[in-house]
Amino acid sequence: MTQSAPPITQQPATASPRQPGWLIAVIIWQAIIAIGAIALGIGMVTGAVFDFRGVGLVVVTVLAALTAAAAIYAIPYLIAHTNRGRSAATLLEYTLLVLTAIAALQVMGLFRGIDAVAANFRDSWYWALIIIVGWVIYSQAERFKSAESTIKLVGRWTMVAGAAILAIALGIIPGTVEFLRRLIEPDALLLAAIAAVCGVAFWLLRRHDAAEVFETTVDEAETVDGYLFVSPNVFGFLAFFGFPLVFSLFVSFTDWDGLTAITWVGAENYIKIFSIQFVSLDVGESASQALSAGYFQAFRFGDVVMGARDPAFWIGFRNILFFGFVAIPLATFPALFLAALLNSKIPGMKVFRALYFIPYVAGLLGVLLIWKQLYNASIGFINYGILRFFDLINLIPGLNLTAPQPEWLSDPKFAMWSIIIFFAWFMTGYNAVLFVAGMQGIPGSLYEAADIDGASWWKKFRNITVPLLRPTTFFVVATTTILGLQVFTEPFILMGPQLPPSGPDNSTLTPVVQLYQEGFQRFNQGYASALAWVLFIFIFGVTLIYFWRQRRAEAEGMG
């Protein structure tokens, strides 16, 4: 933010400002927050309050410390009427308001009742039709000039009546009674009271009076507004991504099974992942005899065996590399050519664009179940189609070819290919739409100039479309790579429940499949987290390479 914007008010600040009553209240509340947070932190560390242990204790103590620090930080600035204090206190009060309100609702057991709301809505949704009727009446009132106001009134009250009936059907009356009963429980009441006071303090700090006292500039006000606008996303990110990310990093250094106490094991999980051994086999010697205890065969190259403490990790990475090298080009290049076709001005092309996009918007699980049937070696349509195709070819005199009938899901040679084909099919339409969007941003004048020069379609495609699509291509390849390297649902559905998601002979074992098996089938959450972080670093590295290449291309004027 720049410092040039004028303050909202032009009143000069005084050397020793007089404190308005509301500001004194806010300052006192900030002090209470600071003291309360410090006391809470000490109480939790000493075990005097709450029964947090391990990670929970660390997280809550850090939160308490941050709260105390923020409150203490804001107080002197509030006293000096410096806007920094107003901004800090506003954001702190807002954060505490949200957190304590959520905590109060959790203590009241409200989130567990969400299913009940859905069930009630399912049983009583039809009352919402009254609201729709009311809206229709209201919106059509202008057609009847003479009675417009009366019809609008009828429409409005119909909507109100519909909302009231729907609320009653959803259980607002017993719900309110129960809500109030739970609200007066000590824990809930305390949290609700803190939320209420934070709400009042937040409101006091947001008023125009406060802006005058603190001489808030437009830029400063907009900065806080910006933070508040993005706060839902920030809270969501922290709760559902940031915290789990950090927590999983911590867990990766433990042997946590998800059920019992966490034990710190240091880098043992990572050491296990990367422990490998190469041995050369003597005549008559087996791999298990040659490898050290705790090592199992991962790969064999003639007489040389690569052993690993976790061969599944290496097999999974080999599989995902193969998948990536084949599936990503298959999901990208056809999409580019398809986009070139879809970008033409042939009548009905919009319909085709929609058709090609359908696989991506269709439910992945449902689509996979259909493909599972298609892939069935005995009764699937793919093998049936191959059979009929060869019947057709064999009509040519002298030909008597035998139709191949691949066992798509049960043969290790084909299992990964079945996933690659599905993935390419699934992504092609989506990527094509992205390419079409990119192509429509290319100036038509370039093509016109090329036409004047007599360039062929291929030359225009190669020398205009492809180079100018580089940013889109970068995005398509990067997102497809990130999705592809995390492939899980495809093997999980296509292989199971007949086979484990790792497929026949581990041919569809991928890193995410392995971490699922470790975390949820073998109760090794710690090891699964370590696998997740190794995969994350790998994907991050690949993406960085893409970024680096893109920036270099841009610097060379190609992007």
């Binding site: 809500f179 019992t260 005899q289 049960s410 002979d505 089938q521 073998r522």
Partner: protein, 464 residues
């Protein structure tokens, strides 16, 4: 302003409506796993104290809420369990039951349960597969119900099949029977052979049910029937089985071998009997009479292209949809005599429940003969109670006409109980075994190599 007020009011209505649900009361089960582990060795005295507290508390505070969950195999079964919960609500006094549909095997039942356990939010009573009992018991996640069972005059261990009960009364510290009870079996199941009678008749093969009746239903007869059916055409197979450990295990146990040694503390896959079973298994597939190993046989059978399909009772509801004549026959005898599996799962109690007595009452009610009859009526399960009434009721639930085949699997089949490894890592053992067996069947590994190496590799998955 009015519009904004209406929106606020409506949101408030949604919020308070969430409070009107029964499952969101303040009776939370939030004990941490560590705390649960500390409390798992509940003594009789502690039980008596808890029981008194619970009963007294119940009377003083009104009804307690018990959340429970099971893993249905399909939507129909989920509906039956919801209906059972409603029925039991009327029978259990001072208890409010909340049935949480848990999703099926492929819908993340296990993931959801583990996540809730880690968060201390798991239901009071839940179902787990028999092979998971050791893991849950040794980690202190489930409650030892022995004190509650001892105080229940209506409970007797002998009411249930001994195989599952032996596992449910195993002390995880020793791996031997102990004075513990980890839960009660919800149901049991065995393998049978689902027959496409139209295909078998068309092939001119003898009716396997008649062969079984005559006592000549063995591997040779089975191979003859399968070969005759597969000779009908390239698109027809004589036999289909899934490629998980259950069907493979049947070949090994039928030959007199098995997965483990007798003490179940070491690999038993390289014994001559086990190798004979695996050899027969490989040789059978080499004849081409079987559907490609690893291919899902169920849709192919339902499409009418497989003569004999090996699966458990749980497949029955789906098979009932086919439009050809079908029935079931017991599995053929191998050189080691009749063999089968006894699959099962159990209702267990969350170690962190605040109402252990009420939870036990629910477990007992869910495994009563009446409730088991209700579930069995769908056709997916065999009652876990050995009472003749329960079995007679099961026999009435047809098709298949030959329901007795499944019961024969239990009574005559020398069934091997699905069991956890109390002193080993079963998931790792299982996966490594499957990979090795698959390599043998597909010809990627010789039997000799397999025999030489399999136990060296798999014995590493045993403790110590």
């Amino acid at each position: 302003m009015t519009r904004r007020l209406l929106v606020v009011l409506f949101v408030f209505a949604l919020v308070v409506a969430a409070c009107s649900s029964d499952d969101s009361t303040d009776e939370e089960t939030t004990t941490t796993a560590a705390a649960a582990a500390g409390e798992e060795t509940t003594t009789t005295e502690a039980m008596a104290e808890e029981t008194t507290t619970t009963s007294g508390g119940d009377e003083a505070a009104g009804a307690v809420t018990i959340r429970w969950r099971t893993r249905p195999d399909n939507d129909q079964e989920a509906g039956v369990y919801a209906s059972i919960s409603d029925d039991l609500q009327g029978q259990l006094t001072d208890v409010t039951l909340t049935y949480e549909a848990g999703g099926t095997e492929t819908e993340g039942y296990q993931q959801a349960l583990l996540t809730q356990l880690a968060a201390g939010e798991a239901p009071d009573v839940f179902w787990i597969p028999g092979a998971d009992i050791a893991e849950f018991a040794s980690k202190g996640v489930i409650l030892d119900l022995a004190p509650y069972a001892a105080a229940d005059p209506d409970f007797s261990v002998d009411d249930f099949y001994p195989g599952p009960m032996a596992q449910l009364t195993t002390d995880p510290a020793t791996g031997q029977p102990g004075d513990v009870l980890w839960g009660l079996p919800r149901d049991v199941s065995t393998f049978g052979l689902y027959l496409n009678l139209d295909l078998i008749n068309e092939a001119g093969a003898p009716d396997p049910r008649e062969l079984a009746e005559a006592g000549t239903w063995d591997w040779a007869a089975f191979t003859d029937v399968a070969t005759a059916v597969s000779d009908l055409g390239a698109e027809v197979s004589g036999y289909g089985q899934s490629s998980w450990w259950g069907p493979v295990g049947w070949w090994l146990y039928s030959a007199g071998g098995g997965f483990f040694n007798d003490a179940v503390d070491a690999c038993g896959l390289d014994t001559p009997e086990s190798i004979a079973g695996l050899t027969a298994f490989r040789d059978f597939y080499a004849t081409g009479a079987g559907l490609t190993y690893g291919e899902d046989p169920e849709p192919v059978f339902k499409a009418g292209n497989v003569g004999m399909f090996q699966n458990g009772r749980w497949a029955t509801p789906g098979i009932r949809e086919v439009d050809f004549n079908w029935d079931v026959v017991k599995l053929p005898e191998g050189p080691g005599g009749p063999s089968n599996w006894q699959f099962w799962g159990a209702y267990v109690v969350n170690a962190g429940t605040e109402n252990p007595q009420a939870a036990w009452d629910l477990v007992a009610a869910l495994t009563s003969a009446e409730v088991q009859a209700q579930v069995s009526e769908l056709g997916a399960n065999i009652p876990s109670r050995v009472s003749q009434d329960a079995l007679d009721a099961f026999l009435t639930f047809s098709p298949p006409e030959n329901n007795q085949a499944f019961l024969d699997g239990l009574s005559e089949g020398n069934p091997v109980t699905e069991a956890p490894l109390w002193n080993g890592d079963w998931p790792s053992y299982r996966d490594a075994m499957n990979t090795a067996v698959n390599a043998v069947v597909t010809g990627d590994q010789t039997i000799e190599d397999y025999q030489a190496n399999i136990c060296t590799e798999l014995n590493q998955y045993f403790d110590g």
